[in-house]
Structures are given as C-alpha cells and as structure tokens.
Symmetry: none
Subunit: 417 residues, 2 copies
C-alpha cells in the first residue's frame, strides 16, 4: 500500500431517488444545485451501485454491511447484535440479541412504548432487572440500559434461535404479544425454547419493575412508570472478521445512526462521535466533515454518513430532502477543499434510495462517484442518478465497493501470483 | 405493496439477434419498424440483460427459470420434470422424469419417431403400458400420454439419477440406444440402476404395444404401429418454491411452449391457454395481449411469451423473424393502449437471442425496456440491442428481473432494518 494514502466512503443516507413531477421529472439529487458533488463527478469516475442486489430494498444495517464488504445475504441474522454492541455489550457469536424499550403497561395493554420518555433512573431499573432476571432456565440474560427508554438484551446459551416473533407490538393502545417460534424457523425447538425464555424474561421485568422505588417516585410525580421491558428485533450474532484485519486499513466510522454505529463497533472500527452531528435536518455537516479529516490523521479509511436526506425521503418531503442534499454537498466541499486528493480517494454515494415518491427505502440503485487518486475519469459532468448511470464504472454492487476503493488507494493485495 | 399494482414480463421468444449484412448491419429488431416497442423504450428505462450469464446460451426452460428468479445453475436438473408436470403428472422432488414419444421400430431400427404422427388410441396404449410396466424392480413408473405421439414418464423411488444417456436416437433410420450411466454421473450406482430400469421399461413397452389391438387396427389400415415408447430428456425433480410464495404475487403464465407451461405449472402459476395462440408464425398476438390484460384482473403478475421470433431465428429466415417481431410489437401496443401504466410496469425483453446468422440460441444479451410506474426514464429513443445498451439500467442478469420488477411496482420487502 502507498504509505499515507487514504480512503473515504461518504454516504448521503437514502440519497438516491426517483423522478418527481414537482421537479419536472428530475430527482431531488438531479434538481438540487450541488457544486461539490458535481465537481467530484466531473473530475472523477461515476456509476450506479446496487447496495445489495438489483431491485432489493436495503435496510440501514444490511446496506452498510454490504458497502463494507460483508455479504448481508450470508451474514445478516437480524439487527439485534448491532444494537446490543452499540450499547456496549460484548456480543459473542451465537448470542441472540434484542433491542428493548422500557415501557408502560396496564395489564397487557401498552400505554406508552417509551415509559413517558424516561430519562433518569434506568440504570437502577436495569440493575434490578439484571439481578432478578440475569439467568433463566440456564440461559444467561445480559441486560444493559442505553439512552432514555432504550436498552439491549443478550441471551447467551447453546441452542437458541432469533427466529421468534415480536413481544413489542410497535404501537400503543394494544396488548403486547407473547413471543412464538416463527413459522419457518430453521430450528423450531431452539425457537420454542428462546420464545419461552423471552416470555419469562418479560414476565419477570414486570414483577421487578412495577414495585421498584424509581417507579414509585415516578408515579408520585405523576409520571408514567417504566414497568415492563419490551424486546424486539431479535438477531443472532455472527462472526464477522474485523474490518482492519480484513482490509489492512486502520478504520474509523463517523455516522449518526446508532444501529450503524453498532455495526462499526461490531467490526471493531473506531466509532467517532461528533458534537453537533444530530442525525436530524439541523445536523452540523461541517463538523462531520472536519471530523473525517481529523480521523484520517491516524486512520487509513473512514466511512461517514449524513442521515438527513433519508428523513426527507421517508417524510415524502422533497424540499427537506433537497436541503439535506445541500448539506451533503457542503460536507463534500469541505473535504475537497481540505484534503490532498493526490493521496486519497473518496467514494460519494448512498446506502440506498429513499425516494420521496415512495416514502421508504426502495431497491433502486444509487449513484456513486469516485474522486481522487488511481481513477480513470470519465465524461460525466454532474452528480445524480441518470448522469452517473452513463459513467465509466457502469453498474457495480455494494459488496465490491471496499475492493474498488482499496484498489484506487493502492491498498489491495494481489490475489494469485 | 401498492394495492392493485401490476407487473408484466412480456417476452419475444429468441428476439435478440446479431447484425446482418442483408439489413445493412442492423439486427432484425433494429431493422423492423416497432412503434410500440420504441414508445416503451423512449418513455421507459432500458438496458441489456444476460438471461443466465454473459456468453451462456440459454434454453427455453433455463432462461424462463432465471427470468422468474430460480437460478438454473443451481436448480436445473433436466427438462423432464417440466415436461411431466406439463402433461399433468404431480411430480415430486426426487422423481426422475422423461419426455417420451410413441414410435415405430422394426427390430432395433427406428422407422418413425412419431409412429406416423398417431393421434387416436394413445390413451389405451398408455393404460396398457401402465398396467404392464407400472412397477419395475421396486421403482414406480408413472406414464401419462400427452397430445399426439407425446407422453411423459416419471420414475419414483429412492436412489435414482437423471444422469443417464438417451434411448431415443433423435433420428429415424438408426437403432435406438440402450441407456447407460453418463460418464461423469455424480452417483454412478444410482445412474446404473436408473439406466437398467429404463431399458427394462422400453423392452416391456415393445412387448405390450406390439400386440395391442390399437396397433393391430393401425396395421390393418396401413398405418405405422406405435410399438415402442422412447424416453429422452431425463431430469430430476427439484424443490422449487412456488412463485406466489416467493414473491407474494398472484401469478399467471401465458405462453405457447409446452415446456415453459410445464415450468409454470411446476411453480404453481396459473397457466392460461389462449385460443388462437398457435406457437407459430400465424399466432394471434392480439388474443395473447387480451389474455394478459384479462389475467391481470385477478393476478398481480403475468409472464407472457410469443414464440414466433425464435422460429425465424432457428430457420435463418430474417424476414420471418422480422414479421414475428412486428407481432410482438402489436401485442405490446395493445397493452400500452389498454392498461393503466400509472399502476403497472411491463418489462419487454427476450428469453435469449436466436440470431438468424447462428440459427440457434446464442449467449448474446437481450434488450430490455421497462415501461410504467416507479422508473427513472433514460434517453434511449428506440428499442433494440444497441440502443438499449446505452440505457439507464446498464447490464443486468435474468436472475434479478423479478426483484427489479417487484421494486418498480412496490411489491418488495425491505431486507434489514
């Protein structure tokens, strides 16, 4: 590898889109003025990328797995392990992990899935849960609180399965559910056992939490008690080779989404938190760009993600999405102005499309532009879905991105002799 | 999925081609006037598609498997199971299936592979075969007649193999063959046993049929006796998940080729037969198009195929192929005029190329144009191999077609969180 060369994947979350009549048949990316993205496209090499495979809508977790070279079709077994790793549980292969909420129930009815957005006292509640439900039927139950109402649970034993149905009904005003084996569970016995453990865990959290002093105090103050833990999003922890070991690159991740941060932790990347990176429309994109430049001081590779474009897509708000794209453009502009791209390459892309017209992730490919060292620049003049489709890259898969980037920055080893 | 949205794959069989000097270096598709295909290309999104993989010539069965998302490289074990399913045998995974002809032999010499194109009496002949050869050496032999001289045979037992050589020599005037294990059979013992069963089956059909009253009557009328059954095209039945279960789409198939119909039956699609759909140059393409529109009344997805372009390709007759392409264009025109494409998407493509200059299937990619909802229209102006190569899709694989189409009609589920 060329000493000192740097690689960056810079992601506008959900930035790909579809044509909109309100924009005279342009996409938000094509319609927004993006001088820095356009410069990268004009002087770089462009293409389209299928994050997972053509036509397959990707989640945030599966897309980032693929873009980092870990085939989600092979390795993805639910989001739970990334959530749990994100709150600091040292997840081990074989663990079944869940994200959880402290919630408020009356009988079986969910009154509030966030227990009145509880902020204080969850450490004590979690400690009580750990003490009273730390082991159920020979299964170790590791429970850790996260921010506000959030928490994570890991079940550790042989013979468990993540293929169970949800406990959290995902809405208030209805009963919470009993976990059951999924109909097509690969190992029905393991799923049956795991469902039974989870149901017992939930039962115990009610018993433990209802009478807990923290909740008594909350009731006295007229606040909703956090009197149950509702697990969801079960996932089996798989062995994923650490990113640095895989590519030989000291790697950092600068993103705004906990789930993706959890993946970064899981891959043993240095996960950098940036003050001002809110994950919202108001995020400080320049702070993020500065953090990328700073991280490259002692890393070879950084994956960065600005969440805002995805929000406008989900909300069906093309103006919000265009403003968010302008933020991505300014962040990229900062990189172009403040880095030496004779010794670095940035791939500017999205983790998936979130078209305003769909209001959710779609399976459309995303544009990608490589700018910096090692390229064969093409004649694409602007950044966008249709312009990039005519680029020199043609159409590539997310799974190939790390290898393509590593090749440009001369960080690849020859395969064969 | 968007309620009521519809997906169509409309196939001109073998419609892809190569440039011809007789057409000033154009392909038949490029040279023929195709106003409706051109409209779809102009307002839609275009590309090239490799039905199986670049450079790999596809059969009708393997190509349609791939286009429906079942990897033939993984699942194809010969055409027999689709033939047998097509004549109504409830093939089960593990069965070894054959297509068969009633034929005429003298000694071992094949006089006529179609027994004088026998039309009547094959039900009685088949019943006699079933009675006298319904079980051989512990193997159940299920034999069913089809139209004219055609029939199908299924062997049902543990430990069989389709990797045996043919009995039918595929031409008259030569001896028929004894089945033997293929040289590279994965399980030589199973292949040896299967070959022995088949040879005994053939021997018994001679014994049973030669003296049968139907054949005595034929001889008296000066007609050739159907005095043997010649199996060919052995295939092992694989488990293929039903199409509706796989994609969540109520699915119909409207095609003219029995082999592909058999695949449709195998995938539990509703196989619709259309009066006037002859499978020849004289087919009623508007009847086919009307049937597609009608089928979409109570289905979410239809695969349709017009066979004629393939015939001109096989015959090396560019004029016939061009006339057939005009038929495909008229059928597509009917769809464009009679469907609401704000709630539907059609993929107009071919299952493989059958270039006039080759006279057989080739491994060249085929053009594809998507027209309807969910697209990013590109600037391709006409339908054809070279114009579509410049489209926004770039180059895709047949295996991805169902996912791409499902994405456009909003029938996809997100993978991941």
């Amino acid at each position: 590898m060329t000493p000192g060369s740097k690689g960056i994947i810079f992601i506008g979350d959900g930035m790909g889109g579809r044509p909109l009549p309100e924009l005279s048949g342009k996409t938000t990316l094509e319609a927004q003025d993006t001088p820095s993205l356009d410069l990268a496209a004009r002087e770089g090499e462009c293409g389209l990328m299928d994050p997972i495979a053509p036509g397959r809508p990707a989640g945030s977790d599966t897309a980032h797995m693929a873009l980092l070279g870990y085939d989600p079709l092979e390795y993805y077994r639910g989001r739970g392990p990334f959530e749990a790793r994100g709150v600091g549980i040292a997840v081990q292969p074989g663990d079944v992990a869940f994200r959880c909420n402290f919630a408020t129930v009356e009988g079986r009815k969910v009154v509030d899935r966030r227990a009145g957005r509880i902020k204080a006292g969850t450490d004590e509640l979690a400690a009580a849960v750990s003490q009273g439900a730390g082991e159920i039927g020979g299964v170790q139950c590791i429970f850790e609180p996260s921010v506000e109402h959030r928490a994570a649970l890991v079940l550790r034993a042989e013979g468990l399965s993540h293929q169970i149905t949800e406990v959290d009904p995902h809405e208030a005003g209805v009963d919470y559910w009993d976990a059951k084996p999924e109909q097509d569970a690969e190992d029905p016995d393991a799923a049956q056992r795991t469902a039974a453990i989870i149901n017992e865990f939930v039962r115990r959290t009610r018993e433990i939490l209802d009478k807990h002093p923290v909740n008594q105090a909350r009731r006295e103050r007229g606040e909703l008690p956090a009197n149950i833990v509702l697990p969801r999003g079960a996932g089996t922890a798989m062995h994923l080779q650490p990113l640095e070991e895989r590519y030989g690159l000291r790697s950092a991740m600068i993103v705004e989404v906990d789930l993706v941060r959890g993946l970064g932790e899981y891959l043993k990347m240095d996960v950098v938190r940036v003050p001002g990176a809110t994950g919202g429309q108001d995020t400080d994109e320049i702070a993020i760009a500065k953090a990328v430049v700073a991280a490259l001081g002692d890393h070879d590779f950084v994956l960065a993600n600005i969440k805002a474009p995805d929000l406008g897509g989900h909300d069906g708000d093309y103006q919000a999405k265009m403003e968010a794209i302008a933020k991505v453009d300014r962040a990229v502009g900062y990189l172009l102005d403040n880095m030496d791209f004779s010794a670095a390459t940035v791939a500017i892309t999205a983790d998936h499309s979130t078209p305003v017209s769909v209001g959710d992730h779609s399976g459309d490919p995303v544009p990608i532009a490589f700018y910096g060292m090692g390229l064969r620049p093409d004649d694409v003049q602007t950044y966008g879905e249709r312009p990039c489709a005519k680029g020199g890259i043609g159409r590539m898969r997310g799974m190939d991105l790390m290898n393509v980037l590593s090749n440009y920055i001369a960080a690849s080893e020859k395969f064969g002799a």
